[in-house]
Symmetry: C2
Subunit: 161 residues, 2 copies
């Protein structure tokens, strides 16, 4: 998938600084998401210091990858629901209304995490996405994100802080 | 509070490498939690690159601080429920069974986040902790963590990976 463009590669530059998935955030995790049939998939290899209990991946990292992957999936799914391709138009940019993660078993560090998302519902500006995080096909965590289209007032151009 | 010992300062060295709150993780967030009456409080100043949409704090960071702060609170609360002080004995170490975050409004970057937690329930090895994340007394996110005492098999000494 490395030669393919990910969902996040279609975000415009001003919305590509996210610590989790922004291609322009040099400190960030650079999560990249792709369609795999009806599912969306991302893989990430945590750094050695991304641990909670030694030997196991930090739960906050798992929450972060679920968050960004589901938000990217919501963006791609909203376009696909309109029959449009991602390279045809600017994607909708979603933000997280809620995030839920159930940690089923500790994920070993020094392994590749596969995050797999399914769109549960698209309703107006809201998309609900469910995800699993697995290591070698064993599910370590399940998550759900309620994604909403970003309000215009959050656009960086209107930042006044 | 900087001269006080935080909950996490009482964790033994082998359980102090967490990316979120381990005092021995040089790359980590070093979240530190303290009692404030019945509440537990932590403050964190995100780095400039901890952004989601430019100008606003990354949601995954907010999830991470809720996670670690509530786990630390569970640990302190479990001891307190037994009438013991943290410097009297090794604290119980908890892990996250589930994490839920509702994002109410974007938290501006370049601000101090205050995370305030309340223990909702202590039942056997399980503690439920609710938290808010605020900037200048305005609540930006609400979270809830179900914390369970770490199973002995997760102790670093038994790591076989």
């Amino acid at each position: 998938m490395v030669n393919q463009k990910s969902f996040q590669d279609y975000y415009p530059d001003e919305l590509s600084h996210c610590y989790g998935c922004g291609r322009l955030n040099e400190h960030g995790l650079k999560i990249r998401s792709y369609w795999d049939g009806q599912d969306a998939v991302a893989v990430i290899e945590p750094k050695s210091y991304h641990i909670g209990i030694p030997g196991y991946v930090y739960g906050g990292l798992i929450a972060s990858v679920i968050d960004c992957h589901c938000i990217g999936t919501a963006s791609a799914a909203a376009l696909r629901a309109e029959g449009r391709a991602m390279d045809e138009t600017l994607p909708f940019r979603f933000v997280t209304a809620s995030l839920h993660v159930d940690y089923l078993r500790p994920a070993p560090i020094r392994a590749i995490l596969e995050v797999r998302a399914k769109v549960k519902e698209i309703k107006g500006r809201k998309v609900i996405v469910a995800a699993t995080v697995s290591v070698k096909d064993e599910i370590c965590a399940r998550g759900e994100v309620v994604a909403v289209q970003m309000p215009d007032k959050m656009m960086p151009a209107s930042e006044t802080a």
